[in-house]
Symmetry: C2
Subunit: 229 residues, 2 copies
Amino acid sequence: MKAVCLLSGGVDSATALAVARRDGFETYALSFDYNQRHSIELEAARRIARHLGARDHKILKIDLRAFGGSALTADLDVPKARRRDEIETGIPITYVPARNTVFLSLALAWAEVLGAFDIFIGVNAVDYSGYPDCRPEFIQAFERVANLATRAGVEHPPGTQGFTIHTPLIRLTKGGIIRLGIELGVDFSLSHSCYDPAGAKACGLCDSCLIRRAGFAEAGVEDPVEYVR
Amino acid sequence: MKAVCLLSGGVDSATALAVARRDGFETYALSFDYNQRHSIELEAARRIARHLGARDHKILKIDLRAFGGSALTADLDVPKARRRDEIETGIPITYVPARNTVFLSLALAWAEVLGAFDIFIGVNAVDYSGYPDCRPEFIQAFERVANLATRAGVEHPPGTQGFTIHTPLIRLTKGGIIRLGIELGVDFSLSHSCYDPAGAKACGLCDSCLIRRAGFAEAGVEDPVEYVR
């Protein structure tokens, strides 16, 4: 069976892709060049798709900078060295408007063409950045859209259940995700999480770096990625 | 108040944009260059956005041809001269997988950045081509996604109701849409409907041309567009 797996190049999506593989899916990885500040993550996505044996990997261009509204897609500063309680309060400036809705829609389009009914996304509602489109109720609502929006949802072949949006990480801590990834053979030295990298090095201080580092500490594993600070 | 209006350049989206203007919205028109066979419709979208006084008009590029799966985005023939009962049975090959989900997601992204809570889409569930993503239950499900997916949906300012997806044409016949458009001052000579145009001329025989011509006949109005046949 085929599954479309959203792949950013970070720890979570790499682990979600590894779960899809473990569960016996032939994986089709999908990444987006959305003109993000940290487009270096696309190199990581390419490495990880290859490393985890994705059957195909597409990088689709959509210029979300045309809309702006986020520190990742406009000339706004990425917040640095925030305290844990600051990270966990409210929706940060790195939130990209409707990003997961856009990404899931395009995953759905590809899935329908491939004849796949399974979509994997590495969202997480525990150690996350307060993004609304990482919550279980959003995922459920999108799954309903998927089954109403498409030919496959309307005419789905006998024996199929329509589309399922898989969120294997949604209830795990970041440390738990890292442990699961390592168990499934993910080489995290290939991954990239930083929102504001300097060359190939991670800044070490943006929310994404802070959450990642705390996750590796929790997992009791050394983070193989190089940090500026 | 601001509204994002999906604008293809055809009769329906032009009329929906005119309704948004009539209802007092400052309109932000959004079109997509998705590498469609009939990309000439983007010229029509530009003319109509100007004609109907849109405050801004963006044409966003996303290459849906990367996925294929439709006569509009792959090298498949557009069906011609089908009978009405053929048009009304099943989902045709011109269906573009998940297109309205993708378009609404991107409209949502722009709306959130603009601080708009209203999105207009000219879908129609009467004289339509059997596309699943034109049905009211799809629109309702997407509205729910919009309000769960976004900062605006979660933290929406007091006095706002969250996002509304407006479908002012959903219960109208094609003739009714054309009459409404004319009432609202839409100049349909600027519009383009054909899936398979020859230069600036419409083919006259694809499903979209056939539905359009029947609509003008029903409205008792001459279609100002030039047809090959």
